[in-house]
Symmetry: C2
């Protein structure tokens, strides 16, 4: 048996909460990978901005690293490979088959886009949870992956681990998406639905900060950039459109939203920020806008941190998927399900 | 190109609305099958109870049959093959690679279970929309399919074409379902939600009859047998349990439900009939019961003919899928997506 096992080597860029949750999930499913796919994995490299870089061709002691991880920990102590001056160096020398790009979101997409480009060019599969590079460089990176005969996967960029791209790819054959709409940003939806119940804007926002749900810069959530980036990816990956985040009309929300929230409730309706895309004259249009919804709209029933995506299709008419109160574990599962699709 | 095409032969048992919608979808995607899989298909046999039997090894003229189809049409005119005395004869002689079992629901599972058994034994893949045999003979038929190295697929038995089994199989790797709950019967949900808005029980039921949503015998819907059969399949296919429909506690609904519906609305809640399964002491328990739900429960937002299934999992926590106002086209799509999974 032993000798039939295939070896798979993984490298991480970023070692934040999501990456560590993903590492724990990998460890938890170690035997499952062996049993189901005959695959034994190692993490041969981790590169971060603030915690150093570490490569070990025989596999890093990931259990030990996780056990002792603290806010000020450094990976350099575990380094046991060639010297790396940059993330580009790291990608070329980490000896991995799959690169997991989990660095922090920057809407320009950099430096994550360069990491992904470098890795695909070097023949690595790339799996990312980073919206920026996928939204901004979707076509270029997808084309490069095809040319190099490797996969570029990004299930985690919309609705965390809820199957969106895998749903479309693996369960809706020969399906044309006419339009879609959803609630894709947990922070603003949490704020709107907490305000419905009497909480203040600031208290609700603070909670999403503490839970690590809000982006590092919460303006990305409040001004609709996060929703616009996700919508841009949905348009490019599911509808064949080519709308970039900055081409999407956005309604922001701010402290003065309370009046509108309460007015909607008085009318027995609910205020939600809806991301939607539709086709018009051969083009796809994307909008992120405040809408008053009737109470029985499935989007109105989405409270707290939950997300929903409704697809209007030619084969299934309307189909919706709801993710209930996600946390980092769900984003980690997105990386995991993309990884499994390579097996 | 021509000579590289593979030939796939299909046989139908049943030629009702779903089967005809499926045939239309197949015709519509004829070029798609050739382009994507290099597969050219033929329907080499159709067997019915009231419209005769027809076999043609070179393929039946399905476009012509559909064009001229009427309530009293007979298939016998198109027969151009060996004589068939029974459906068992038909299965052995139809020359098909895939049998589509679409005969009418009987909760005993017969004669559909015998058709499926016969076909699997003869080495055909079987795809069905028929709840009876799947609920009642799940283990036996699944085992037989494995032994014969063919597939036994049934996406259409729960929530029509909305991916349920394919969702679990293809997008939720290494996932354990702790519990699930849903609204799985369109007829009763339509009645409950129409009564909320002032309609009478009888008017609402009549509408589902006219739309062809109600089962041929509507007691199967009203007394909860349809929900119980679906729940039994979910328990067996997704949770590894072994609960048969008659082991599921059921609450029926009847004309006197109006009082409860209105009482729930007065409390700003909603009455729904919920099918749910949970684990208890190593066993899985299934129940179909009337529940008053708070208005923000996603199940409460499901109106009309729509369905919802909420999965509680170890990897994704809560994940829900909603099918909005299904019709026969969605059930036809279930057959189609199962077929594509064989390619």
């Amino acid at each position: 048996m032993e000798q039939e096992l295939k070896q798979a080597n993984f490298a991480f860029i970023g070692f934040g909460k999501v990456a560590r949750a993903f590492a724990r999930l990998l460890i938890n499913r170690r035997k499952w990978f062996i049993r189901k796919y005959g695959v034994e994995w190692n993490i041969t490299g981790i590169a971060t901005n603030k915690h150093g870089i570490s490569i070990d061709p025989r596999g890093l002691p990931i259990e030990k690293i996780l056990r002792s991880w603290k806010a000020h920990s450094s990976l350099n102590n575990f380094h046991n490979g060639p010297a790396c001056d940059s993330h580009a160096d790291f990608i070329r020398q980490c000896g991995a088959d799959v690169l997991f790009e989990m660095s922090l979101l920057d809407l320009s997409g950099e430096p994550a886009a360069s990491h992904i480009h470098e890795a695909l060019r070097a023949g690595l599969h790339v799996i990312t949870t980073n919206k920026g590079p996928v939204a901004t460089h979707f076509r270029r990176l997808s084309r490069l992956a095809r040319q190099r005969d490797v996969k570029f996967l990004y299930e985690g960029v919309v609705m965390d681990g809820a199957p969106v791209f895998n749903l479309f790819r693996n369960t809706l054959p020969s399906t044309h998406i006419r339009s879609l709409r959803g609630i894709l940003n947990s922070t603003t939806n949490y704020i709107l639905t907490q305000m419905e119940q009497g909480a203040s804007f600031e208290t609700a926002l603070e909670y999403t900060r503490k839970k690590g749900i809000a982006e590092a810069d919460p303006r990305l959530d409040l001004e609709g950039w996060d929703s616009a980036a996700k919508l841009s990816i949905l348009i490019q990956a599911l509808m064949g459109g080519s709308v970039k985040p900055d081409e999407i009309e956005r309604h922001g929300i701010s402290e003065d939203i309370g009046r509108k929230v309460r007015a909607a409730v008085r009318r027995d309706r609910r205020l939600r920020r809806v991301a939607r895309a539709y086709r018009q004259g051969g083009r796809v249009i994307g909008k992120v806008e405040l809408q008053e919804l009737e109470i029985f709209d499935p989007l109105a029933s989405i409270r707290g941190l939950s997300n929903i995506l409704v697809l209007n299709t030619d084969t299934m008419q309307e189909l919706a998927i709801i993710e209930n109160n996600p946390s980092v574990e769900q984003t980690a599962f997105a990386l995991f399900s993309d990884l499994v699709s390579l097996m």
